[in-house]
């Protein structure tokens, strides 16, 4: 019996589809039988990323009861199996996503891993994907709006009886303003499954005549290395996620660099004192800033 994972985020554009595609192939490369399902019923684009957008039978047809799921499973790139979602508006309007759980359950015993690419948000289609899964992997960027949204997704998943098991932090750039992985863990009360760095190779994978997941055309890229670690973790291989902490050399270099750093502008209050700021504000009110309003400078429109 396979395990169903929903990859969900709350916020759009955090890299769910990209991670789903690459993670699925990474698992397949480890000899696992993997099914990717484009559960983003309204805004399907996993098929575009896998270069399989012209499949005749899609998840829409299955959810409409017009085809069986077996007929909608295709051989995908990198040894995965794939269920595309339809791109048509008409069938989307008629689809009942609540049937997804039953549909997925019918093929659970044929695969080791079933990865659901969940839509963004917390609407009905997302709930359907979450409730169809055994485990939920939450994907976020290391910034507060993304974390706030993924937190809501976690709450909704728990309400639906799904089990959030970990977080994948994507687009990590190691900038000062990024929320640290340990803080994300504390806030979401979940372990980190992977830290995927921002990688231009991922962006470039969409800018080719034949679009394909990065893992297939740049297998040595930084992001793929991080995704491979997540795959290992899912397959039960003991891995440790290295969270960079500043070592003695880095600390020394930072101190050295700080000599050259431009000083941030001092707030006015610190520079001249609170009392003086107050006086300055009062002075500015005493000055005649606004023109006096009288009959001569008002133009009346009829």
């Amino acid at each position: 019996m396979g395990t169903v994972y929903a990859l969900a985020s709350g916020k759009g554009g955090v890299g769910k589809t990209t991670i789903t595609a690459n993670l699925g192939i990474s698992l397949a490369q480890r000899g696992k039988k993997v099914l990717l399902v484009d559960a983003d019923i309204a805004m399907a684009n996993l098929s575009l990323l896998l270069g399989m957008h012209s499949s005749p039978i899609t998840l829409h047809d299955v959810l409409l009861g017009e085809s069986s799921l077996q007929d909608a499973i295709y051989d995908g790139p990198g040894g995965i199996f794939f269920v595309p979602s339809g791109l048509s508006f008409e069938s989307y309007r008629r689809v009942d996503s609540a049937r997804l759980a039953g549909v997925i359950a019918s093929v659970k015993d044929q695969f080791d891993y079933i990865l659901l690419d969940a839509p963004a948000g917390i609407e009905t289609n997302v709930m359907s994907a979450l409730s169809a899964s055994d485990n939920v992997l939450l994907i976020t960027m290391p910034v507060s709006p993304s974390i706030a949204d993924v937190l809501k997704t976690k709450i909704v998943a728990e309400r639906l009886g799904a089990k959030p098991i970990g977080i994948i932090v994507n687009f990590v750039r190691n900038e000062k303003g990024e929320v640290l992985p340990e803080d994300i863990m504390k806030m979401l009360e979940l372990p980190i499954y992977g830290l995927v760095p921002y990688d231009n190779d991922i962006r470039k994978s969409f800018m080719r005549e034949k679009i394909m997941p990065t893992i297939l055309f740049k297998p040595n890229s930084k992001a793929v290395a991080a995704i491979n670690i997540i795959a290992e973790k899912l397959t039960g291989v003991q891995t440790t996620i290295k969270i960079k902490k500043k070592g003695p050399i880095t600390r020394f270099l930072n101190k050295l660099f700080s000599i050259f750093k431009r000083k941030p502008k001092q707030p006015l209050e610190e520079k001249i004192g609170k009392k003086r700021v107050k006086e300055k504000i009062e002075e500015s009110f005493d000055e005649e800033v606004l023109p006096e309003i009288n009959e001569d400078n008002i133009e009346m429109e009829e």
Partner: protein, 149 residues
């Protein structure tokens, strides 16, 4: 090139980003408000917690004949159970494949059969069938585990 860029940005202190701590504190509070401990043997208390967890105003669980199994309604929920099951049974007789009945009034009334019971819920906005199913499943799991209720 990236190395040079990183070096330059460090030397010149170009990374002027900052963690928005106040926002994060607000986000952290959200989770604590939505943590629900449903581990109780008191069915009434359990339903009250479920009401908060699933954001509904009233939960009434009735047998298909209109008998009350459990309810959070004022009184003992007999009125809700009888009218709810009568309405569901009527619609089910007209449309035999009925899975859920939604009634839009000032509030939403939703009826759903689940394992020989009718779940009647009043909510401020419509629940999806997925949410309704999750609620019913949670109640059913509790009822089947705790036969002492």
């Amino acid at each position: 090139m990236d190395l040079l860029k990183n070096f330059a940005s460090r030397v010149l202190g170009l990374d002027n980003t900052q963690v928005p701590q106040k926002q994060l504190n607000a986000v952290s509070e959200l989770l604590s408000k939505h943590t629900f401990n449903t581990n109780t043997t008191d069915l009434k208390r359990f339903l009250k917690i479920l009401k908060k967890k699933h954001l509904v105003d009233m939960i009434c669980i009735a047998g298909r004949n209109g008998s009350v199994i459990a309810s959070t309604a004022n009184g003992n929920g007999l009125k809700e159970a009888i009218t709810g099951t009568a309405m569901f049974n009527y619609i089910n007789s007209e449309i035999p494949k009925s899975e859920t009945v939604l009634v839009k009034s000032n509030e939403w009334y939703m009826l759903m059969p689940y394992k020989n019971k009718v779940f009647i819920v009043r909510a401020p906005a419509s629940l999806s069938t997925v949410e309704f199913n999750a609620l019913a499943k949670e109640v059913e799991d509790k009822l089947s585990k705790g036969k002492s209720f």
